[in-house]
Symmetry: none
DNA sequence: GATGAATGAGTCTTCATTCAT
DNA sequence: GATGAATGAAGACTCATTCAT
């Protein structure tokens, strides 16, 4: 095993331990000590590669995020599919992903975005995200940036479904009932919630495809019986 | 002011401070020190009345939970209303409540249920809740109980809408497409998610009634345009 | 022993331990652990009373500084003394003080003022002190303030002798050879240096009065023999 | 470029980086990482050539010390000069040197001699230096030696001026007022202090020669006006 | 009953030094 | 010979909880 391989070995062992520990404990409760014990490495090594606990977490979810985006892109790009099918495909990918990374994405959505500290990300005119405090003061610029990067991940993950939704609007596929394209986000988040609370319902046994299909059908055509 | 009143005064001042601090900081970031400073009381007093930080939080949300249940009960009990109207009324209550207690319920849903530590509450045959670890070991019995009580609150909050849903099923109001009554929970949680992420979408400016109505309409009759 | 007394007891025990440890190790090498071991107290207690390691040090030297200023003021105020006598008296106080607090003031002069990191304090027009970086960037405002307060102590300590020097100038007691009143500071600092390096010379055995007298005499009338 | 040259290149690049970093940060705050980044070399190389952080610093100041001694020797050896001129020349060299190496010599005087840890160097009968602890225990012999070598540098730097002073005594040039030859050291150190605190006084703008001349004049003939 | 001083286990983070390649 | 990945000891600081007054 050469130097490069050994280094990757360390890195990936740390990454694996990181995933396990954050998945087991959430962010705040996780400790670097547990990670290094699991990765069988020194504390310095972790800090050399990743810089800080926050960076460690970000690196982990960032990587997973990329995998997710790739899959979403693939199904989004698929030719010859209708709105309904596309939506179902994207949701399927999203559900599968969340089922594998439930805790991690829960932590990302709630702990890391600091939405539980009253911070929200709002879109500026130029499309960038800016942190806003619903009360109190904003943290120092550097910390803001750390928080914002998590918001950016989420924003990007919602985009594919938003795009399909826009396409549907153009094709006059959708009703014009409600808050327009926030609906896309709505579906997206609702599915997340569904998975986050999964074990308390029976939807877990259903395959991702089936679940996505159900959700899309219900959303598109409604729960009320057609008479 | 007699002894009893003075005591209640202390209690309620602590309670008010507790709400403010947990709402501002989430659970982990909140400190007893900030609470007593705000309540202008001693640390011992807090521990005498409430026993622990967790108990303090539970007492707070428990109280709010009762208020919520009362309101839900009231609209659920209203006579002469159709399924659609009842659902909209319950959702309106739920949305209003969450908008007032966003952070608190976010914390409750994710931090306190320890769903971010891989624990899930499953319903036993006798209708009770039991904690289950998706991996690793369960915590000591005492801690399990502390976690479970939060699950019980949530379960109870979902019930009113579940009941209406069941009624709709009986009246043949609903399609039979999907996971049956989990759908109720689905709507319920989706709405929570909507509020939790509120500032990032425009739905915030809409009144609770309007929002509830939109959601119900969309859910019942679908997003797809009727041809 | 009542509550107040007990509290003062803790505080003063911590203070005593602080003095001992900082005197033994300097600032950077000193550890809170050693201080609490010596004070036989908990770490939290130290942080409750003093906030941070830097505050701990500042509190200590600040207290000693006050004692020094009091003594300097006393001899400065003494009526019916000539320039020479006044200078000697102030120097005597200064020497005595430095001999008792050698390491502490050495640390204050060099470690705490961060002069070894390229920061200097310059006097603004309004007489206040401002930090300046001879290279690189200044630290955040908060840290600047922490550094400046040490400079302020030193500035205040030099004042009495500067005042006497100014008086001497007015009385035409001094030559006009050199950098005018910086000379006062010069003497002051030279004496500090003398004490800081004391054990390497024999001046240690001389009493503070004698030493002060020698220094003043030499400074005033010169080392060169009068022919 | 042959092997020898390449090696020297490495060495000198490390040395240059060492000077820059220690000058910018002092000793404790300086890190090997910053040095190797600046020298564009590997950490192992530094340790191969210099053994330890302390050795690195010592090598640096040792080299500068030699340059200083050379210059002092040159002006000391100059024929046909009086006491006053010789003193001024030596001081000029000293001032120039300190102005170029302010932080380095500050660190040397206070941090490296561990005078801020209560250790002092005393001269034994045979003229050698021995470490003494004003309290507590002395460090292990090896560390003592590391500390002593810095004291030796300083002692050697003071010698030229001490020699001239001795010559002045022999020539009956000096008064017999004070602590005899410690006076020489006194002047020497006072000048150091003057430079260490330079930005807080106006002496900085004066040329080294002028400053040296002023100091010598004032010291020799006194601050008090001749009537 | 109310208080708040005291506690100390637990965390993240830094950095000089080593050693296998 | 040069490298830099790996290490782990060490240190500042936080905060829930206790308990004597």
């Amino acid at each position: 095993m050469n130097k490069k391989e050994k280094e990757m070995d360390k890195r990936s062992r740390i990454m694996a331990a990181t995933e396990e520990v954050f998945s087991r404990r959430g962010y705040a409760q996780a400790t670097i000590d547990e990670i290094i014990a699991l990765a069988d490495t020194g504390k310095g090594t972790v800090y050399k590669y990743f810089g800080s606990k926050d960076d460690l977490f970000y690196t982990l979810v960032s990587q997973k995020h990329c995998e997710l985006m790739e899959q979403m892109q693939r199904v989004s790009d698929a030719a010859g599919k209708g709105i309904e099918e596309k939506l179902a495909d994207i949701l399927t990918v999203w559900i599968r992903f969340l089922r594998k990374n439930t805790v991690l994405w829960q932590v990302l959505c709630f702990e890391m975005t600091c939405s539980n500290r009253g911070y929200s990300a709002v879109e500026t005119d130029c499309g960038a995200l800016r942190l806003e405090a619903r009360w109190g003061d904003l943290p120092p610029a550097e910390e803001q940036e750390n928080i914002l990067r998590y918001h950016r991940l989420l924003k990007e993950e919602i985009e594919p479904i938003t795009n399909v939704y826009r396409e549907g609007i153009r094709q006059d596929f959708f009703n014009k009932i409600a808050g327009h394209e926030d609906i896309a986000k709505n579906i997206f988040l609702a599915v997340a919630m569904l998975v986050f609370f999964h074990t308390t319902n029976n939807l877990e046994k259903i395959s991702a495809e089936e679940l996505a299909d159900n959700i899309i059908k219900t959303r598109l055509y409604g729960l009320a019986g057609r008479k």
